[in-house]
Amino acid sequence: MTSMDLVGKLLQVLVGLVAFGAVVALLLAFLDRPEDKPRAASWRTGLRPRIILIAAFALIALLARLLYGLVPWMTQALTNAAIAVGVAGIAIVVLQWLLDRLLQPASPAVRSAVLRGVGAAIVVAVVLAAQSAERIPALDWVTPALVLAATIVGWPLVGALVATAAIAFLPDRIRRSARLVAWLLAAAAVVVVALVLEGGQEQPVGVWPWAAAAALSIVGLLGYLADKDDDSKPMLVFLLPSALLLTIGLVYPAIRTTLLAFTDKTGAFNGLDNFVWMFTQPEALVTLANTVVWVILVPLLSTAIGLAYAVFIDKSRGERVYKMLVFMPMAISMVGASIIWRFMYAYRGPEQEQIGLVNQILVWFGGEPQQILQNSPWNTLALIVVMIWIQTGFAMVVLSAAIKGVPTEQLEAAEIDGANPWQRFANVTVPGIRTSLVVVVTTISIATLKVFDIVRTMTAGNFNTSVVANEMYTQAFRSGEPGRGAALALILFIMVMPIVIYNIRVLNQQKAIR
């Protein structure tokens, strides 16, 4: 790895985090009313900040031009971009300065309208320049694609700017909605124009119109939010990013999967065939049965062992070390854990030296070495042990923290009443950590239903050890039966429903208490 690569990687992380931070900060900026932030306007009003800004922009442009040709990474595009940013920055500061001075006495509506008008004029100029770029030598770098993009995005943008400028004079009540409508119309116009042009054009217009339309809609939506002042605004600010990500990343795939479950491998609708297959094929039935065994044993045992362990080590000397030891499997990847346990279960014939500890122990106690991963149904238990080994650490850590939260007074009171340690545990501690127990069991159950790596790495689903998540992957990606895979996914979803419903009930109880 060269140092350049490393710099590039660090830069990526840095740019990524800064961009993410900027997005979040921008969103949060909508939360506070103007009077909360008196400092906000200062950089745009004073003289000195403006001079500093102009100097900074000039420096950017100058540096870029100086470095161009000196260092290899300062490419033409980068230099151009830097110079453009510098010049444009200066132009904007000056322009804004002038407008600010000119518009000082005018009403906010007039100022807003004038600014938008100026913006619209500039866009018109840019679009016209782009369209006549062929005839202007200085613009020879403008490609047909850029002209197309400028045309498609430019005119709707002008329309939106002009429309919203006019809307500024409307009464407050309709203004908000009217602006939103204007921006959304502009977004729609971009798409329509793009589609129309695409029909008549050799060159496909690609994804940019869609991105532009999305940007316009977001601008409109944010402006809409910025105008409003009730509880639905913070709700959207807080939820918007998550909602957006979850919709594209999980909701849409979930809907797609549901539809897919009723199709065959060619994509044609085939009714319930996939489900019939699932409940008639012996292998598929074994898979379902195994999954049920997993989802009963793993949450139960890991929570029980984790809880017992957390109680045993509570307040003891070396509690941290104890916790560390049992938590460690959590830090190992499932693939890593599977490697470790394949090593534990490794088998050599009775006449040979064992290299797997489990079989060695069997031999030490006079038993025969066993093919642990092969002998059904015990092999499923052997795999479950791996999952328990991993998840106990999670249960222990969470429950240990919860136990420390049980009010000491209650325990004292129980002690005075003559309760023995077991009674104190059962009657005071357990009720005290009930919510945490529910969360732990829920989380582990869901993790168990999704278990995939362990089965895949240790037995590949052979010897009657397959589970639904593994079978789903095999059917969808190895056997070319996405419909069956999707049907299995639906079954998984149905299996988790009881857990969801139970949690909703607990949630409602909590809400009622509050």
């Binding site: 595009a77 151009n80 110079i83 500039i122 590949a460 990606f477 056997s479 070319g480």
Partner: protein, 453 residues
């Protein structure tokens, strides 16, 4: 919030203005973009690559199953080509190729070139419509260097998609020559002789066979090689083709006969599993380790393809030669001198028809590449332009000769040609059940039922 809006407008203007001004230094492009050595210095040793043209900064992504050391040799095999043409060939290998290629194709993110380890997968991906037919230059190379059998495996529904890359010959039986000489065991020339020899060896106290079907999520495939070898040898290529195309049912009596012949050898507790355990260990023993007891004389024979040569040791401390530590004979037919072998191979399919991709694809189908890769060792190719002398070992030389011999009946590994649900699914898992104790009829009928309608 009018402040925010007032920032937004100038910012928008800034963006637009930036676009307009980007042309400022447009003409002053310095000469740095010319790839170093692409013109003058390249001439030396680059004559063979002149036809491919030169490309500056072009990049071609290749995705395949080949990993680790084999992947390094692959990279080495086209290093000179990269230097001379300026194309950067970026190879990515993944053990999850079979699943991931589906994901990437369906996700719209296929590599430029994919090295398919089996024609079945090639056919199913070609069925999605995203694989491009082979460009003319590749088709011409294929015409020149490969037999019709091989070209057909790269053809789906009459369209030629992919030229073969490397090859392996299956059905070798590995043994330790010194041990055999000591005991007076002779290389069998028919399958019946093989059965007799197995019995003789078992009587002498040595376990005749070591077998391992383990291979991670592909566990079971070494077993399919056994069955395929026996079907081809007992019933001939026609039955073999019918079986694969499902023109005869999977549980046809002829297949059951072949399977039982295999079972007589490897499901007999007297005959397996030398140095490892009993019959039940076959399913869990990794194929890579299964043959190693041959070196210690703990078993006499191990059935595995030619590529197993590279598995004997990491540091070449084991010599593979007729008079070396270990050697192999091709599993015989029903009669002496009936040359019929099964084998495997890779096929290079393209998802892009950019010039540099075509150049790489063409290069990979050429004799230049075949010789370059084969001389790096460990593998062979069925490319007729390959000089057998380039093969890295006596065994591989004999394998190349077998492949190039027009008398040889060559058939592709059957499980690779069957639909994925069988060939990479129930056939594997069925054989795992079979060596774990299930009887032939049950296993065969289960596989038959799983054949997609």
């Amino acid at each position: 919030m009018k402040h925010a809006r007032r920032i937004a407008v100038p910012l928008g203007i800034a963006g637009v203005a930036a676009l307009a001004l980007t042309g400022c230094v447009g003409d002053a492009e310095p000469g740095a973009s010319e790839a170093p050595g692409s013109t003058g210095a390249a001439a030396e040793g680059c004559e063979a690559y002149a036809d491919y043209g030169t490309f500056d900064g072009a990049e071609v992504n290749v995705y395949g199953t080949i990993l680790d050391e084999e992947a390094n040799r692959l990279n080495e095999s086209w290093a000179e080509f990269e230097e001379c043409t300026g194309i950067d060939v970026v190879y990515e290998g993944s053990a999850e190729f079979e699943a991931q290629i589906n994901v990437r194709v369906q996700g719209g993110n296929p590599p430029d070139l994919a090295i398919f380890p089996q024609p079945g997968l090639l056919a199913s991906i070609a069925g999605t419509g995203s694989l491009l037919p082979a460009p003319e230059s590749v088709a011409a190379n294929a015409e020149e260097f490969w037999t019709e059998d091989w070209r057909n495996y790269g053809t789906v529904d009459g369209t030629f998609y992919a030229a073969p890359l490397m090859a392996s010959v299956k059905g070798y039986v590995w043994y330790q020559p010194a041990l055999w000489e000591e005991n007076g065991w002779e290389v069998p020339t028919t399958l019946d002789e093989l059965d007799e020899l197995t019995a003789t060896i078992a009587e002498s106290g040595t376990t005749p066979w070591c077998v391992g079907f383990g291979s991670g999520e592909a566990t079971g495939w070494p077993g399919t090689d056994w069955i395929e070898d026996y079907v081809l040898r007992l019933h001939g290529p026609d039955v073999y083709d019918q079986w694969i195309a499902h023109e005869i049912p999977f549980d046809d009596p002829q297949i059951a006969e072949a399977m039982d012949r295999v079972g007589d050898l490897i499901k007999n507790p007297e005959y397996v599993n030398g140095g490892i355990g009993d019959v039940s260990t076959i399913a869990t023993t990794d194929f890579g380790e299964a043959g190693l007891p041959v070196l210690d004389g703990e078993c006499a024979m191990h059935h595995q393809a030619s590529f197993y040569e590279g598995f004997w040791s990491d540091d070449n401390s084991v010599t593979v030669a007729e008079d070396g530590d270990v050697w192999a004979f091709v599993l015989p037919g029903t009669e002496a001198d009936a040359a019929a072998v099964t084998g495997g191979g890779e096929f290079v399919g393209a998802f892009s028809d950019d010039e540099e991709v075509v150049a790489v694809q063409t290069f990979l189908s050429s004799d230049t590449w075949a010789n370059s890769r084969v001389s790096l060792g460990g593998v062979i190719s069925a490319n007729s332009g390959l000089d057998p002398a380039n093969a890295s070992s006596p065994l591989l030389q004999s394998a190349v000769e077998t492949l190039q011999d027009p008398e040889t009946t060559f058939r592709f590994d059957g499980s690779d040609l069957m639909p994925g649900a069988v060939g990479a699914g129930t056939f594997w898992s069925g054989l795992v059940d079979w060596v774990s104790g299930a009887d032939t009829a049950t296993v065969l009928s289960q596989i038959e039922q799983s054949w997609p309608q």
